[in-house]
């Protein structure tokens, strides 16, 4: 006889159009979102430093940021072994989440690195 105990995971129902799961493990979902957030933030910072050292100005830098985020999304999808629905409930989360927050970190470190390498 088997018994379900609810001590380890909390289950949550969600039913929007994109979602296929009736209930999923919310704690693991949050942990996955945190991983995405950390990865994107760190890569935005590194990308900002690289863009500053290379001397990008203006639009080139933002195009570099878009490319960087595209690579990051690709890397995250590869990390999830291309089966997004095992780890997340919708594609938007892994592709779009953290884009704007990363943009601000990118611009900050871009200006830092540019100033350090090219102006002082």
């Amino acid at each position: 006889m088997a018994v379900h105990s609810g001590s380890g995971s909390s289950e949550k129902k969600s039913s929007n159009g994109v979602n296929e799961l009736l209930a999923f493990n919310a704690e693991n979902m949050q942990s996955n979102m945190k991983i995405i957030y950390y990865s994107r933030t760190f890569l935005s910072i590194i990308g900002g430093v690289v863009a500053g050292i290379l001397g990008f100005t203006g639009l080139k830098g933002f195009v570099f940021y878009l490319l960087l985020m595209a690579f990051t999304s690709l890397g995250l999808v590869a990390k999830a072994k291309f089966s997004i629905h095992t780890y997340f409930d919708s594609w938007n989360r892994v592709l779009v989440d953290g884009f704007l927050g990363g943009l601000m970190s990118f611009v900050l470190f871009w200006t830092f690195a540019y100033d350090i390498a090219h102006i002082f």
Binding site: G6, N25, I35, S39, H118
Partner: protein, 106 residues
């Protein structure tokens, strides 16, 4: 985990070294009064290597993805607790469809 962290730190150090090389290069350009068209080739290579190392570390260090399926193998929470006095059965689980293939995990 520690390996990935050291690789990330190493990548960051390579980036700092590339920044320092660029500063030196700009100092040289000031002496010869040329324009800055782009960092020298070895700096670009260093940047690419450092960036790739940091990229790999950024995807590996934060941790592994965990499955969110409630019924996957790694999320099994079947257990027979020693003390049955506090187990309740009158919860919202009754709205789930009835599973006829539950297995005990040894």
């Amino acid at each position: 985990m520690a390996v990935a962290l050291t690789i990330g730190v190493f990548g960051a150090l390579i980036l700092f070294h590339a920044a320092y090389s660029t500063i030196q290069y700009k100092g040289l350009l000031k002496i010869t009064e040329e324009e800055f068209l782009g960092p020298p080739l070895n700096v670009v290579i260093e940047l690419v290597i450092g960036f790739l190392l940091c990229f790999w570390a950024a995807l590996t260090v934060p941790g592994k993805f965990l499955s969110i399926h409630p019924h996957s193998e790694e999320n099994r929470i079947v257990s027979l607790p020693a003390n049955l006095d506090f187990m309740i059965f009158n919860h919202r689980g009754k709205v789930f469809p009835l599973e006829m293939d539950l297995k005990l995990k040894h």
